[in-house]
Symmetry: C2
Subunit: 312 residues, 2 copies
């Protein structure tokens, strides 16, 4: 079995690649929920939704969020009624949020709701939230502390970030399926997908017990760099690194995972960084444009894990 | 000024007629909220919405609820996710419910939210809920007490009704705009629209002070019969009358309003009932099919009020 730790778009791309080269029962995708928020009275889990839509073949690959078969009557109408429109909710996407919210209010856990809704979307792989307890990423900017979606969507990542905190992480329980899989002798590897380390991966690592379990894990832990030649494929990763006083490079990301990393996959463009990385490095094309790119990178990661398993 | 008491479809038709023959500032539509309910976490006010969509020119006249420019992506998708689909919510209609719910949760009153949303829909007339306090119609059927929408939509009015109760009515405050208008010397008449007496008009009359204020009102109170030749134009009015042991006739409706009625408009088909009605009766075509029908009936009601004002 393979565990993939994922945030939104970049992580979902590799999770999709993995889902296409592994039998469905051999992939467990553990998803960041630090981006989750309440909007218009609805419980929204953007990263879970991106991973689910991606694995279900429903994702809008052009914009990187939402569904490809979306309609916008709700948004058009609520705009005319003076409602909030900064977070775009398509008519079909809304159904997922309304149904999830109804079931959460009825007392079901986020993971139970996610499991059932994913099954109904035809997804055969397991997708679990990092925790059923709420964790909320907040950012200290020059304008003070702001909520993640205010930063990410409403402010388009413009405010300069000085610090991040994951509210609730210290008392959250990691999802038991995740922890059980980490301790499972059948585990073949843990893949840290090419997601933003600060806002997608570190919220997962911030939950008590997760980092230790990854360090102790008998299977190799392999990350894929979200940085190619000093730039992020999508999103504010490189911008945040600069603002936090870090060099925006593949090596910098590896250092943040140094204690738990066995292998690291970086882009061919970053060959010069190999010397600075304290893990077995694999060079590959990490930019995933086509479906073939996703599958090829997935195979590269699984091959690297196989080599590391023999060594570990 | 004219006050129109209205439920959903039938009432909204006459309210539309009145809105087209009166200056906008001279019409106040007071709407039943006994049908209101919470569904999928949303606060839904079906009669307010039907009146608002009707006056805004947005109503779907074929089915008698919702909007004519509706799309159904949300409903299609939530069905695939195993969500509840017995109450049909279009994508645009949903925007109204989401925005209303958000503002109610923020502490705004139903009337304040209604006023603003109606203004944004381009409605110039005033539409006020009968009360800002929750009143919920429940029905005792052969299967026990059930909520209004369970009876009306989910069960398609099939259960036999033995009794109705308006929960919350006894402690609800009538809307102050309604009560002020009833006491206003400029009031020219109160029109009880051709809505179901049991589920649309009597919830309004059940609020403490309303019935007395209508009796004491200096302006004439005129009802339009929702029954034509023993049958309801739409909905379960005649069926409920039979189940409650009443004769389904225009006269029976008049008797329920006997203490407060000055005038009564019945269909030409019910001429024989004139003798049994203790109010000044006007015969008219009360079936409103075309827009001209709505306007003509509105003028008939206003003319009857003018005659009664001179007598009262």
């Amino acid at each position: 079995m393979i565990i993939a730790l994922s945030g939104g778009v970049g992580g979902a791309k590799l999770a999709l690649g993995l889902s296409r080269v592994l039998p469905p029962e051999e992939l467990l995708v553990v998803v960041n929920t630090g981006d989750d928020f309440e909007h218009l009275g609805l419980s929204i889990s953007p990263d879970i939704d991106t991973v689910a839509y991606t694995l279900a073949g429903l994702a809008n690959r052009e914009v990187g969020w939402g569904r490809h078969d979306e309609t916008w009557s709700f948004m058009e109408t609520i705009e005319g009624l003076g409602g909030e429109t900064w977070f775009r909710l398509g008519d079909r996407d809304l159904a997922l949020h309304v149904e999830r919210t109804r079931r959460l209010r009825r007392g079901e856990s986020l993971s139970a709701v996610t499991e059932d809704l994913c099954r109904r979307m035809g997804i055969l792989q397991r997708i679990v939230p990092m925790s059923d307890d709420p964790v909320r990423t907040r950012l200290l900017t020059e304008e003070g502390w702001i909520d993640f979606q205010d930063y990410f969507v409403r402010r388009r990542c413009e405010p300069v970030v000085k610090e991040l905190r994951f509210h609730g992480a210290e008392t959250a329980q990691p999802h038991p399926t995740f922890m059980a899989a980490l301790a499972d002798p059948a585990l073949q590897g843990v893949v840290i997908c090419p997601s933003n380390p600060f806002i997608s991966v570190e919220p997962i690592l911030a939950i008590p017990g997760v980092r230790d379990a990854l360090v102790a894990c008998k299977a190799p832990v392999i990350a894929v760099s979200p940085i190619i030649a000093g730039r992020a494929v999508k999103g504010p990763t490189a911008k945040m690194m600069t603002e936090l006083g870090l060099d925006p490079s593949a090596g910098t990301v590896a250092h943040r995972y140094a204690d738990l990393l066995d292998g690291y996959v970086i882009d061919n463009a970053d060959m010069a960084e190999v010397v600075s990385i304290d893990a077995r490095v694999t060079l590959a094309q990490t930019l995933m444009t086509t479906m073939e790119d996703r599958e090829t990178l997935a195979r590269t990661v699984l091959d690297a894990a196989a080599v590391l398993r023999r060594r570990k």
